[in-house]
Symmetry: C2
DNA sequence: CAGTGGTCTAGACCACTTT
DNA sequence: AAGTGGTCTAGACCACTGA
């Protein structure tokens, strides 16, 4: 075991694999000291890895009693607190998605968009619209907006098929750090309903997100719509210590 | 500084307070070694506290450069990965809510509810329905379902006004550990639309949750509906290390 | 009372940014 | 080169569970 990713992450993946292969009898995970000795790392590293597994719902711990596999929590496919591409998310749900560009355009920034992206109102913004399908059924409709001044490299339509963070790296030399995301229920308007092949007025979940790079600069606005009948998000909410 | 809550949490709150009071010049947080010396704790404790602040969006860190306040992330009011009462959530959004019971009943468990709660189909379930209002405007409609066999203590309607985890502790001697929550967009049906005073068919966000106690036993099912125009959820989604 | 997870420390070394 | 955050270790002691 050596560098990249770090030891804690390697241990986390090792344990996660073993959990998914049901490699722990009775769902009981060995004591931390034993894991540390077996894997040749310190108990601190083991505890960090277990801490991540706990926060993603894969295990739970009871002081004095032990550490156990959490079957209910393992049902989470796409952890909301992480960034994933829609291809990844759909594959995690058992799909084999295809992607199609449905919009590729330059538009002037509206005042609110300009405010979000810290650019001037009316500045040109690249708009990339994509639909992700499973077996012909549209599951996700996503629009990404990037200030045109950030786009340094020329690109083809194929480049736009890639996950947006790959596009940001290749075309803008920016590295996506995090999204600030609003969860917004919408009643499908005409254009969205057509793309997702649902009736107008169908209730859809949407994400309204601003993407920030590693220097905490807004580089991206994204709006995505999901067919609730084909893709549902699940998360864990924990009691915090008082 | 002594026990309960633990040192890390005390440090986290101390730093969070100072951030909110804008006590750090230029949004720059002192080096970890300096914080450790100032507060008289180890650097590890400081790092744990900073790690939590980072994951909740209050700060960001850049290796080699420093730690900084994240103004955008501070806009998050009700972190989705935590459990809060709706009173708390609404207060965090600047409201001063009132609560009213709109349902208090015993019903037989449907097959799917029984499955979720690990009880027998048809077993009696206590249903508590509540509406949370701001200035007379309904903001949240919540239904909680608890297997009647768990309810050990007699209770009055007043007990039902309390947050459901308080009810679980007082009446069932159970301690809520976490929720497994589905995010579900719904087109408001008649009953919900009436309670929330919106038109039928309005798109609403709902949570469909199973609550587990500290021993990982399902003790509660909850469905909640939110007026998107009055209460919106925001979260941080981070790039994970590859 | 033995064994488990929970908290905290002190210190070493590395990777990266800034000057 | 100096200073910052990132990783990892070894070890001490505490709090709680369960036989």
């Amino acid at each position: 075991m050596r560098r990249s990713p770090n030891l804690t992450e390697q241990v986390r993946r090792h344990l996660k694999d073993q959990i998914l292969r049901e490699g722990f009898a009775d769902g009981r995970i060995p004591p931390e000291t034993e894991l540390a000795a077996d894997l040749g790392v310190s108990r601190t590293t083991i505890r960090d890895a277990l801490g991540r597994l706990e926060s993603e719902g894969a295990i739970y711990r009871r002081q004095g009693a032990g550490t156990f596999v959490n079957d209910a929590g393992l049902q989470i496919r796409s952890p909301l607190e992480e960034i994933w591409s829609y291809e990844e998310a759909l594959e995690a749900h058992g799909y084999t998605p295809s992607v199609e560009i449905v919009a590729l355009d330059t538009e002037p920034a509206t005042p609110s968009l300009a405010e979000s992206l810290s650019i001037a109102s009316g500045d040109p913004v690249l708009v990339i619209g994509k639909v992700f399908r499973e077996d012909g059924d549209p599951v996700v409709l996503a629009y990404n907006r990037i200030p045109e001044q950030l786009v340094q490299e020329p690109f083809t339509e194929d480049d736009c098929l890639a996950p947006i963070y790959d596009f940001l790296e290749a075309q803008c030399r920016r590295y996506l750090g995090y999204y600030l995301s609003d969860l917004v229920p919408v009643s499908a308007p005409r254009s969205v309903a057509d793309q997702l092949q649902v009736r107008r007025g169908t209730a859809l979940l949407s994400f309204d997100e601003i993407g920030y790079d590693r220097d905490n600069i807004a580089v991206l606005q994204a709006t995505s719509y999901f067919r609730d009948d084909l893709l549902r998000f699940r998360l864990i909410r924990r009691q915090v210590e008082s």
